[in-house]
């Protein structure tokens, strides 16, 4: 880790402030976990409802640390060749064709097959060198000189086999490419894994990570988040809209609005030049917050009451 990073992770408060500067407002729990992850050099497994800012956290980390963000989106069927590396087959083929003459020259004058093979053997691995290697996100993250921020997004969607493979990478930060040998991380990447809990991750993976659960923020924190993410919204409207969203989360909805939807709504209200909440305005823009028809219907019944409460 470079000197600059040493500075940025000096204290827990410094981490909190730094991330706020990068546009991410941390709760104390998040700041503590980020601080620990740096000092223990462990990945963070981030869980929480959708839209609560799991991916944002990794992006903010990249901005804060001034390191590139490398993202690996997981899905069913993701395998090593898409996550780690692949050979550039086309290039290999092309080069063997182009270099055909050279190869002929090379084996010219050899006596018999055995000698020709021995001659070619001297240049054995030329087509399996790093020039012909197409690195994928995991390898890229390991090769990054100054270290990278690696985001393994929605790791719960990947197969158990891939999870096992990931274990190897995350515990030693090295991978082996059979043709090249072991590749060690130049500088350990700062790793985030996010999970939406569609399936339980294995014990082994959990053990190698710090666990961070991000719940929906409380009212004070959410106001702060809106302030940082949508600074154009005036203070009064900000308080009202956050109060409204907080009430909405209390309702029995199919999908409660997340933080990203609060921010979207704040921006929509700004575009509409609103300076405070009123029932008609809320009714017209409710689809920004709620994505199911049934939810909108359920919320509309109590809309006036909730708006009044939020405005007060």
């Amino acid at each position: 880790m470079g000197m600059a990073n040493q500075m940025t992770f000096e204290t827990i408060e410094a981490v909190g402030k730094g991330f706020a500067g990068a546009g991410y407002v941390c709760s104390p729990t998040i700041a503590t976990t980020l601080y620990l992850a740096h000092h223990l050099q462990k990945p963070i497994l981030v869980e929480g409802p959708a839209g609560v800012g799991k991916t944002e956290l990794a992006k903010a980390a990249a901005v804060y640390l001034k390191r590139p963000l490398i993202r690996l989106q997981c899905y069913e069927g993701l395998d090593e060749s898409k996550a780690l590396y692949e050979w550039k087959y086309g290039k290999q083929l092309l080069y063997t064709q182009i270099l055909k003459d050279k190869l002929n020259e090379l084996i010219e004058g050899t006596d018999g097959l055995a000698e020709a093979v021995a001659r070619v053997h001297q240049y054995d691995d030329i087509f399996f060198s790093e020039r012909f290697l197409a690195p994928r996100p995991l390898l890229l993250a390991l090769q990054e000189k100054a270290g990278a921020v690696l985001l393994v997004d929605e790791v719960d969607r990947s197969d158990p086999e891939f999870e096992a493979f990931l274990l190897e990478v995350l515990s030693d930060f090295q991978v082996s490419v059979p043709e090249l040998g072991t590749i060690q991380a130049v500088s350990r990447p700062y790793v985030f894994l996010t999970s939406n809990n569609t399936r339980e991750m294995s014990e082994a993976l959990k053990r190698r990570c710090l666990h961070l659960h991000i719940p929906f923020p409380d009212e004070r924190l959410e106001r702060e988040i809106v302030r940082v993410r949508a600074p154009e919204v005036p203070a009064r409207l900000r308080e009202q809209l956050v109060a409204f969203v907080q009430q909405l989360r209390e309702l029995d909805l199919k999908k409660v609005p997340s933080v990203s939807e609060t921010i979207d709504w704040a921006r929509v209200l700004m575009i509409l030049n609103a300076d405070q909440l009123a029932p008609p305005l809320v009714r017209d823009t409710l689809h920004v917050l709620l994505k199911f028809e049934a939810d909108i219907e359920a919320a509309e019944g109590r809309l006036a009451e909730m708006t009044q409460k939020a405005v007060r």
Binding site: P28, T33, L93, K206
Partner: protein
Amino acid sequence: MERALCDFIVALRGSGVRISMAETLDALRTAALVGFKERHILRDALSAALAKSRAEEAIFTDCFDRFFAADGLAATGTADPSGPDSEQAQTDSSLGQMILAGDATGLSMAMRQAADRAKITGIAFFTQKSLYIQRILRGMGVEGLDRNILRLSRENGEASQETADALKAGREFLFERVRDFVERQYALYAASAQEAILERYLREMRLSNLEQRDHERMHRIIQRMVKTLNDTRSRRKKAAKRGLLDVKRTLRENVAYQGLIFEPRWKARKIDRPDMMVLCDVSRSVEAVSRFMLLFLYSLNEEIARIRSFIFCSNLAEVSHIFDQCGLDEALGRLQRGTGLGVDLGRTDYGQALRNFKEAALDRIGRRTTVLILGDARNNYGNPEPGILSLIHKRARRVIWLNPESPPFWGAGDSEMRRYLPFCTLARECSSVNHLERVVAFLVRTG
């Protein structure tokens, strides 16, 4: 402090959080990093390092608060602020000196050390509490203090009397603190013992005797069991995955070898997901057990995607939708009472139930379907229709019958079990979780 952390981890493990050696080391490093000054930071940090899910986080917080609760000595009011008195030099017991000096930290330290020597972490039963209290007090040197008090109170002179009174009050206070301390330690360390014992007990005991409040725990055991089934399945899957040649991938990946098929690539074989139909008897004769059976059914519904559930008594009705709509308690209640489900809770009629099942679902049974029947086969001397079961047996991959009665009773009285037996791939007695575990193991083994 390391010692305290290790004790804390023991307590956490006892409460059901699994913590490995590597995590223990992490916790020690974490504590060294953030320090012990700020309680909430330490808690957040340790939680990140040790708790691995939301449930564990809740347990962790609870445990942390109990473990690092102040031991009350800081608030000691025993200090006699009369300053260095010539009379007080008479207390030659170090404990007495600490009491008189109001040295809360010293007392707290002495108590913890004595507790360590007394091996408080070994406490397992509430009957041991007084034993540990005495051990700790003795370890702190309370005997010397007692002798001291006795000697002082025999002496004449106001100063000695005063000191003796102060020491007595201090001793009383100390006793209470130690008692509280042992009380807390018991809650921390014995919870583990209790839980383990209770769990073993529940697994062994007859399900009919299960009480309402234990269902929650039972459910967890079953979930763990069903998870074992899943894990085993995924390992098997990997071994048997290779299928047909994948022409497209083979060509593409072998371009590197000038199109020579050097490294063939295979298609992954399609995985057979378990396909299940469950028939559950809810008549009065199996009432107590059926509640457990339904609990099992509920867990299965959570874990297996393709499952259809039926309950029967005088007739049969499909109840698959209940599991999606209702929570555990509500679902079990509704299934047992049969309200609004179209099931008639009169005399048990296996014949009618099988006829209903034949109409409703026989044509949906394929060669991958497992049919699971939970019931005692007591048919009130009606027509048992074994022919229908034979039909089911022919179509399905396997028919499993779990009977709460033990085999000697099969066929006795109105039990038709003997007549159904030829058409069951597997028939087992099942009235405790251990039985159930064996059935699951069999299912996994035979794939």
